[in-house]
């Protein structure tokens, strides 16, 4: 029997970084293609999703926008868990947000506790590139940091001008899918009527995408 190729993959994308670097703006730009000058500070975390087709696969990206303020980090644990990839954002016009990349990466690894600590897919995003007055964090400095921290990939964006926003999220999702390949196994037809891809290392976020009815039929 011919297998259906069109399966939906659910991916949990977590966006972290200092307060005011533009996390919410980037996500909003990506999911609704608009830019708003000022978002309220994010309290706790906010959820949005976008369905995209990448490399022929339909992916539902569940994007978690998290609070930038330190106070909320301890509450971030429940939001980080089960992430497939993580975007760390800094504001290129705010050097201290660049210096904090370290702290963010470590906090994520600690609280999100992904299994593959050394190879977990991060993407470093330097936002607000539109504010170029010569004093922005330099690309080579950012690249250097990424090289020193496990060869992470780096991308420069502007949520305001819509520069490379789509590209950044596509990269993130691709990285998440790479990781998924390792963890995903297809179950034989008789075990899963809908021929659904099932994650054997089931975690909270992805397991919950299965509807109750489907559970009964398995």
């Amino acid at each position: 029997m011919e297998k259906k190729k069109n399966k939906k993959v659910f991916l949990k994308v977590v966006i972290i970084g200092d307060s005011g670097v533009g996390k919410t703006s980037l996500i909003h730009r990506y999911t609704s293609t608009r830019f708003l000058q000022d978002f309220k500070p994010t309290i706790g975390a906010e959820f949005s999703n976008k369905e995209v087709v990448i490399n022929g696969k339909t992916v539902v990206a569940q994007i978690w926008d998290t609070a930038g303020q330190e106070r909320y980090q301890s509450l971030g644990i429940s939001f980080y868990r089960g992430a497939d990839c993580c975007g760390i954002v800094f504001d290129r016009s705010d050097h201290s947000s660049f210096e904090n990349l370290d702290t963010w990466k470590n906090a994520f690894l600690k609280h999100g506790a992904p299994k593959e600590e050394g190879t977990f897919p991060f993407l470093v995003i330097g936002n607000k590139s539109d504010l170029d007055d010569g004093s922005l964090v330099k690309e080579r400095d950012a690249q250097q940091w990424c090289a020193d921290n496990g060869n992470l990939e780096y991308i420069e964006t502007s949520a305001k001008d819509n520069t490379s926003v789509e590209e950044a999220f596509t990269k993130l999702i691709e990285k998440g899918m790479e990781r998924e390949k390792v963890n995903l196994v297809e179950l034989p037809d008789r075990m899963s009527q809908k021929n659904k891809t099932v994650n054997l290392q089931r975690d909270v976020a992805k397991d919950v995408n299965r509807k109750p009815q489907k559970k009964k039929c398995c």
Partner: protein
């Protein structure tokens, strides 16, 4: 039966005569009563005036009235009632003016003591630190010059953190961007726009020189002083939103005394609210009953008790109550509705005889309001519904639904009734 006192202020159908007012603020309120008020509101306004204009205000009567909504037609009324509910104004009406003036003095001394240099972020640009003026050296908290500098840098971090959020606080109401001296707002609109857009430290020399003080500066100052006086929690994001609601309400006044003491009144009322909910902001208490996670768990337990079906559905999809209720419980719903509707919700929350117990029932009512959307879909649909509560709804619908949860409770017996 109406659980409110019958008005005896009314001498004839057209209005009020021959009242001996207990203080200037009440006198002003009555003098400025609008001429045309819808009949329904008029009765309620008179109930409020009667409840206020007493030697000793009966707070239960006032709470019972305010729980169902404070009439919006009379400028200053809501602000005055909130000041009482927050125990800022004493229930002896003859003491109001004295209290307000004493607190203003107290606030001014906080300002003097705690703000090392008001324009620090502008001055800090030029040199590496503050120009150490005599005022700073004489500062009671500073032992040596080093400590002044260290303090200055720490303070600057707090200022910058606050500034970032104040710039994005309730911009839709175009209040905080305005000049304190309102005549400057129209005259210097372009400069005000630049001030709103840029950090203080990024302004050009001319704009720095001619800086116009705005309501955003007052907002920042109050948050800063609060942070300095509460080093355990300092400034936490969301406090800006809580203060903004108070600001919006207190600003709606034409009373000369209340206009004069706006900033200090705001500070102490903000302090009063924060005093009651500070545990929710305190990181070290996160996992305790009174901390934010404990409060959210309490709400989840109530949901389980009152709506098992919805509770089970959310459980099934592993939707942690933190995903939706964190903001609601922590910020008293101040981020989820337009500001005037938030103010209406707060009438009820602040008059709650078990403050802030009723907030939980408002949250339950909100959950039930969107129950269908949650039940129909999967994780994603439920999350969308939960995180984007319809904010164009008349909140009285929600408040009336919330009444249903407490109508059997003797504590709320006199309180529940249709919300206005």
């Amino acid at each position: 039966m109406e659980p409110v006192p019958q008005p005896d202020l009314v001498k004839n159908s057209s209005g009020i005569e021959d009242i001996k007012c207990k203080n200037e603020i009440i006198a002003h309120l009555i003098e400025k009563l609008p001429e045309k008020i819808p009949k329904k509101s008029k009765d309620r306004i008179l109930y409020f005036l009667k409840a206020l204009n007493r030697d000793t205000i009966d707070m239960t009567t006032l709470k019972v009235l305010a729980f169902r909504g404070i009439p919006e037609e009379v400028k200053s009324l809501r602000g005055i009632v909130w000041r009482l509910l927050l125990n800022y104004l004493p229930n002896k009406a003859t003491k109001w003016i004295e209290t307000i003036n004493e607190n203003k003095k107290q606030y001014e001394s906080f300002r003097e003591e705690l703000i090392i240099k008001p324009q620090l972020s502008m001055e800090g640009e030029k040199s590496n630190g503050p120009e150490v003026t005599e005022h700073v050296v004489d500062h009671p908290l500073s032992v040596s010059q080093d400590s002044v500098w260290a303090q200055f840098h720490k303070d600057r971090e707090i200022w910058e953190e606050i500034e970032k959020d104040v710039k994005r606080t309730r911009n839709e109401i175009a209040l905080f961007v305005r000049a304190i001296k309102d005549e400057d707002s129209a005259k210097h609109w372009e400069r005000l726009m630049r001030q709103a857009e840029l950090k203080k430290s990024e302004l050009n020399a001319e704009d720095k020189e001619n800086y116009i003080e705005t309501h955003a500066d007052v907002l920042s100052r109050i948050l800063f002083i609060h942070a300095k006086l509460n080093p355990g929690i300092k400034y936490v994001q969301g406090m800006n939103e809580i203060l903004a609601v108070l600001y919006f309400v207190f600003f709606d006044t034409d009373d000369p005394i209340l206009t004069e003491t706006l900033e200090s009144d705001l500070f102490f009322c903000f302090q009063s609210i924060m005093g009651e909910i500070r545990d929710r902001f305190c990181r070290t208490l996160d996992s305790e009953d009174q901390g934010i996670k404990g409060r959210i768990q309490y709400l989840a337990d109530l949901l389980k008790e009152h709506d098992r079906e919805l509770f089970n559905h959310l459980e099934y999809y592993k939707i942690n109550p933190q995903f939706y209720a964190l903001k609601w419980i922590m910020l008293l719903l101040c981020q989820d509705f337009p500001i005037y509707e938030t103010a209406r919700i707060w009438d009820t929350l602040l008059s709650d005889p078990e403050r802030y117990e009723f907030l939980n029932y408002v949250c339950l009512a909100m959950l039930q309001y969107i129950k269908e959307d949650i039940m129909e879909g999967d994780f994603t649909d439920a999350m969308q519904a939960l995180q984007r509560f319809p904010n164009d709804i008349d909140v009285r619908i929600i408040l009336n639904k919330a009444n249903a949860f407490v109508k059997e409770d003797p504590i709320y017996q006199n309180y529940v009734g249709d919300h206005f």
